[in-house]
Amino acid sequence: MKKSKWSLLLTLVLVLSMFLAACSGGEKKETGEKKGGNEGDKTEKPAEPQVLNILDGEEIPSMDSSQATDSVSFEVMNNVMEGLYRLDKENKPTPGVALSHDTNEDGTVYTFKLNPEAKWSDGSKVTANDFVYSWRKALHPDTLSEYAYIMGPVKNANAIQTDGDPLFGKVEELGVKAVDESTLEVTLEAPAPYFLGLTGFATFYPQKEEFVKAQGDKYALEANTLLYNGPFVLNEWKHNEGWQYKKNDNYWDKDSVKLDEINVKIVKDVATSVNLYETGQTDITGLSMEYVDQYKDHEDLYTRGEATVFFLRLNQNSKNSDALKNANIRKAIDMAYDKQSMVDVLLNNGSTPAYYLVPGEFTPGPDGEDFRKTNGNFGGYDLEKAKELWAAGLKELGKESVELELLNYDSDGAKKMGEFFKNQLEKNLPGIKVSIKAQPFKQKLELESKGEYDFSYAGWGPDYQDPMTFLDMFVTDGAHNQMGYSNPAYDKLINDAKKEMDQEKRWEMMLEAEKVLFEDQAISPLYQRGVTGLQKPYVKDLAHHLFGADVSYKWAYIEGKQ
């Protein structure tokens, strides 16, 4: 009996260790040859190793360009894939797979000539059919992309994804055609001057049908079940741990690519990222608010503006209070808090106060002038005026006090922001009482889309480089309006601008629309988001983008590393 007892114990231990050994299988180091299209001959050795080490906060959610929805996937794909055009260092569309393009007179038909040198990492040519297949795939009901709406400007794209429409699911009706192997014709619903830039967005990348079908369920799940046509290939992809890019020797513009290798590790904790930066294991790290002060005099500190704008939605359809239906009340709220100190004290990360909807340094007009510069600022902190407007508003409402509920995110930063609004508004507007409802992200969005809130802390990042990506949110009953704003003049400007052939007139209409939005004080803009971090001085020429993917490594290089 004694013997059998111990043998049972021993068996248990053995089973447990086998279980653990089996579980640990995924973390074994690779011993074999690394695969990938990067084994070409290097004729010239660069002066110093062209290796960049960076961190990312998340695993790559998708490498299937027609399915991806998030910034990590977009960034990786931007560096290993290429669409018809790609954004250059100045955020201007520059030829990618397309060699050139022509448009018809009214700007609704684009004919792209493809670069014969554009190849997949298996050496085969990137053809017009690869685009047709991928675009149709993104819209097909069986493989519908969550980002399919980005294809909206292409003819019939919206109808194809609208259940009940006669064109629903008929992807062959999409306005894209392979005229021949290297000519692609795209028909748009209406002229869209930003369309070229949009072709650099992941959903518009090509996919080689033959390869995708051969991979079946495994397509794009691992580094070796994917074909690449961008500056780099994914040489290694260890899920939840990191990935490695290597220079793509089949890339048509490989001479512009200087980095040989980019190693990315997944780190979620900011303190860990900072420690890794301190020990030289990463060349770049982002900083959260609490670290900014600590590093504010550090020579490696960088601050960069983004094209995301945060604002208060002022719900005119609230069931709880009709106060926000009143324009004076809305204007008073916008003027009653100090945006500058909010940005300086609460955010402290390079964000700037916003007195507008369309962000600054985002998109220049036909005259070359930034949209923001032309339209200037609206409203701003003005206590006296705020009090006047507030008193007028209360009089119009026939009330002496107003109770409003602020719908907020439940993150620490947002909670501080909520307390700030409450404090400032209650201090500056006599008779207002603000309560805060902090909700988890998804719940907050749900309440917002149902209109069950008074005012809410919200944000919007651009989908394409044009003011329209911000402005068309607020048309009457727009899917993203969510706050009961309606002004026929605004709707007309937006709808006309969408059809307008003359680019200067179109621009004027959009400038005017933004003015109307702020005459009505439909929203109260808060800030244009910024980011702060540390970057080693030897990392050069990283291209940061304002929409779509965040970064391009195509032109980056290492110089002066000790």
Binding site: L8, D64, P141, L144, E146, A148, N240, K442
Partner: protein
């Protein structure tokens, strides 16, 4: 014994079915949709996507479909990572979590036992006080504080060990040690108390008076009998450690499963919520079974069925 185990296994499946049912219906009460950029989707796009993932079906139909797949061991596809199965997510993440958890458990238990035994044997001495002060610190200070301090001083300042990542044995030391601190403290305290109690019992005096050496009495009777409560607490502790400690994994950038469960709830990733819940439940049930069997091995009086009559 075989009959007992068969009965337990049957009960195990029944428990899992109940857990699956409750979790499934509770999960459906979660607000929001599983789509990442739901704020940018129009109603019609949302409907089409729900249709694609079968989320437009009535909840009971979804439940039956889920059970059908579950019966075949298929936990479905995650919404977070395109095309990836929940089975593969659990399998990938479980390795590092289980490894570091197991290391912490083994190290923590061994050190805790030694400290506890030493403290009991040298009762009211410097060793006893020292061990108990350590135990109090170990319980009072959370593991992530140790982790942060270790990472900064040992990793950054001294450069003795890697700051983070998961590449080789040296990468396991700091996370496993950080996780083991709580185990050491708990085990040491329990062991000391049990040992002191047992050392004072009549059968120990009896054994000593029969001429059995002190060493033999301590090992064969005292330590062995003190193990029962230790095993009781080690079961749940093992689950916590092996299924991943969210904070420690984040601090040391370990690609474990710890984060998945919390994240899946925030993201409405229904298949992952179900998958991880069922997997954790399965582990807990198995460990309870293992603990029950171990009781029988250590103390024959507790043996539930079978054995020597």
């Amino acid at each position: 014994m075989l009959r007992y185990i068969t009965k337990r296994v049957f009960a195990m499946f029944l428990t899992l079915l109940i857990i699956a049912t409750i979790t499934f219906f509770l999960m459906k009460l979660l607000p929001g949709s599983p789509f990442n950029n739901q704020e940018k989707l129009t109603e019609s796009q949302r409907y089409a996507l729900n249709e694609k993932y079968g989320l437009n079906d009535p909840v009971p139909v979804q439940y039956i479909n889920y059970l059908g797949k579950l019966a075949q061991g298929d936990l479905g596809y995650t919404f977070q990572f395109d095309g990836r199965t929940v089975n593969s997510m659990i399998a990938n993440g479980m390795g590092p979590s289980a490894t570091v958890g197991f290391e912490a458990l083994v190290f923590g238990t061994l050190v805790g036992l030694v400290l506890g035994i030493a403290a009991a044997l040298k009762h009211n001495s410097f060793i006893d006080y020292g061990a108990m002060v350590m135990a109090v610190f170990g319980i009072a200070i959370p593991s992530f504080v140790f982790a942060g301090l270790l990472q900064y001083y040992v990793g950054v300042k001294l450069g003795w060990l890697p700051v983070a990542f998961w590449n080789g044995p040296e990468y396991h030391i700091m996370p496993a040690f950080s996780l083991s601190v709580g185990v050491i403290a708990t085990v040491a305290r329990f062991m000391r108390t049990e040992m002191l109690e047992i050392l004072g019992t009549d059968y120990i005096l009896m054994a000593r008076s029969k001429g059995i050496s002190k060493q033999a009495v301590i090992i064969k009777h005292c330590v062995r009998n003190s193990m029962i409560p230790i095993i009781t607490i080690l079961g749940p502790m093992a689950i916590g450690l092996i299924t991943g400690s969210l904070v420690i994994e984040n601090i040391f950038a370990i690609p474990g499963i710890g984060e998945q469960f919390v994240k899946s709830i925030n993201l409405n990733d229904y298949p992952v919520i179900m998958g991880t819940t069922l997997f954790y439940s399965f582990l807990i049930i198995v460990i309870i079974l293992v603990v029950d069997i171990l009781y029988g091995i250590i103390d024959p009086r507790i043996r539930v069925a079978g054995g020597k009559s």
